[in-house]
Amino acid sequence: MFRRALWNPASRFLCRRYATQTSPWSNVSALSLSHIRQLVAEDLGRLHQDIRQLLGTSLPELRDISHLYFSATTGKALRPMLTLLMSRAVNWHASNGQHSGVSPSQRTIALISELMHTASLVHDDVIDGSPLRRGAVTVCRRWGARKAVLAGDYMLGVCSWALASIGDAAVVKCMAQVLEDLVTGELMQLGSQEHPQRRFDHYMAKTYRKTGSLMANSCRAVAMLANSTPNTVESAFQYGRHVGLAFQLVDDALDFVGDEVQLGKPASADVRSGLATAPVLFACERYPQLDAMIMRRFSSEGDSEEALRLVQKSDGIARTRQLAEEHATAAAGSLGTLKESVERRALQCLAQELLLRDR
């Protein structure tokens, strides 16, 4: 049965090819998440410390805020992990199996990916008025909206400085694009798509900008820094893009099944804040009464609960997970042209591992 087409023509082709036959790498032994993490453990271990050093300021309040998310490894550090693994994989490929060591510039991209992500979370929490993040009180709840936003700006300034210090103008362009995508993605979320047919495309485009772009461009940046061929750079980019989309789709599905303690942030948050994500959009096909609720952003009394009920009754969650799987498969497929290495295998397994998470 033909599944919901992936929104990008190129990946649609990849999806069909890989979804209907056994994955070519499935013969190779799978790597667990902890094993994958182990491959870049040394670099990851120093990550938060290095970020704190970059953010060094003599102003106590700003220091406290800046360090809030970088004091321990409470976050998943997914983006740096991805970036470091990709660095090794492209280095191995570019050197034709000579070495895979991560260069200082590539390490900097990993730092930047985490810093940029965190700064955007701080701003997002102000926009959403969220009280919790990663199981703790948010910056805006503790220090107020104004200081939260300004601290986020400080982090972005530091980010840009670190990026520029690499000295590669093309890489700067690549990562600057992420900043634009993050905010236009957020703006897309503010608006709504009137036509049901275009709603899903709008949702996927927004999801790319908000989640996919950072991963895609971080991967692209480290590939560029390895002096890779344009094809390799594109492969790295596509990997990041597919993983980002898969990751967000799982996140959107979890929002309907997880609970606050488990997730570390409020559950059913999307519907309560008026957002129609993949599970709802899929459910709407079977239950058209969701259409009106989507249009008014679940603002009427009882809308959130009814939407939740209908989504859980429908196959919306299952189809969301299925789409996530297709993107994970496409992600792994993107790396097919890279020289075989344990890091390449790790990236391919990581795409699958992300589907299994529960937070």
Partner: protein, 315 residues
């Protein structure tokens, strides 16, 4: 969006006596614009009029009647061409200084990258004002909360555009300099609020809040023009003193209570002198003269304010 904003009906805002600025200051700005070939605002609200951010206009409508700072800021931009709105019609100091310095440093025309830098600098300035306008809310005030959200997004959008603009200049040193300025502007908001003017802490905060963006953008302009490093250092110094002089002038214009106006006026004069000394190494030109006229008008303005302060209140 324009129609939305034009429908706003707020009384004209008076910032102390700032409405009555000297003819000299306005004239020097207008003359300067002729030198660099610009008669319109370096940065306009066109960024906010794009399709992508059409949503902002819709949501801004809901703010009408709430007096959220974002609304007031946008109105100032629209009616006065400047986010601060207090110093005259249609000019933006930072961008203008960049264009003048670019012209003063070279016999050739101002580069496209330098003009782009001027726009980026005004973008950063406006974005920082928008973010500083965010109000801390004790209670869950729906309208102001909404205003805050828009402020975050608007500021972020402008900063993102600035970042892309900087990246497109193709010069990583410039990106470094301007990133430092962005850091400094944000940092300044975390320093102590009540500072005695001309105190060393006041100078420190003043540099972070205003001087850094001016100094770093002027240095960046020189860098883009591939000029001698000594010009970079010179304009950096110029920028620092211009910012101090300007801040003192504004301080004199807005409040006189418990302030030694003579001392401030003298300090303003000294910084203007140091600013002119800093660009002494530039060859004579219309652009250099324009820069002199602008900073001289700061001194003139501060002497007018000092004089006004000495008059009895009811005159």
């Amino acid at each position: 969006m324009l129609s939305v904003l034009k429908r706003l009906s707020y009384p004209p805002l008076l910032v102390g006596g700032a409405r009555c600025f000297s003819r000299d200051l306005k004239q020097s700005m207008l003359d300067a614009e002729k030198v660099v070939g610009y008669s319109t605002s370096i940065f306009s609200l066109r960024y906010l009029l794009s399709d992508e951010v059409a949503n902002i206009a819709l949501h801004l409508k809901k703010l009408v009647g709430t007096r959220h700072p974002l609304l007031i800021r946008a109105r100032k931009m629209l009616t006065e061409g400047s986010p601060s709105g207090s110093l005259g019609d249609n000019w933006q100091l930072r961008g203008l200084l960049i264009l003048l310095v670019s012209k003063a440093a070279s016999t050739k025309a101002i580069l496209g990258t330098q003009r782009s830098l001027a726009e980026v600098t005004e973008l950063i300035h406006f974005a920082s004002l928008v973010h500083q306008d965010i109000v801390d809310l004790e209670n869950a005030d729906e309208a102001l909360s909404s205003g805050n959200k828009l402020s975050v997004l608007t500021g972020d959008y402008l900063l993102a555009k600035a970042s892309v603009g900087l990246a497109n200049l193709g010069n990583t040193k410039v990106v470094q300099l301007m990133s430092k300025a962005i850091q400094h502007i944000a940092e300044a908001q975390f320093s102590q609020r009540e500072l005695a003017i001309l105190d060393s802490n006041w100078y420190n905060r003043s540099f972070h809040e205003m001087g850094s963006l001016i100094s770093n953008s002027l240095s960046s302009a020189i860098c883009l023009g591939n000029h001698d490093a000594k010009y970079e250092a010179a304009v950096f110094e110029f920028g620092r003193h211009v910012a101090f002089a300007y801040s003192i002038m504004m301080s004199l214009a807005t409040s006189h209570d418990g302030v030694d106006v003579e001392k401030l006026h003298e300090a303003c004069r000294q910084h203007v002198g140091q600013a002119k000394d800093a660009i002494g190494i530039f060859p004579p030109s219309d652009a250099k003269d324009a820069l002199h006229h602008i900073v001289d008008s700061f001194v003139k303005q501060s002497s007018i304010s000092a004089l006004t302060a000495s008059l009895p209140r009811d005159s």
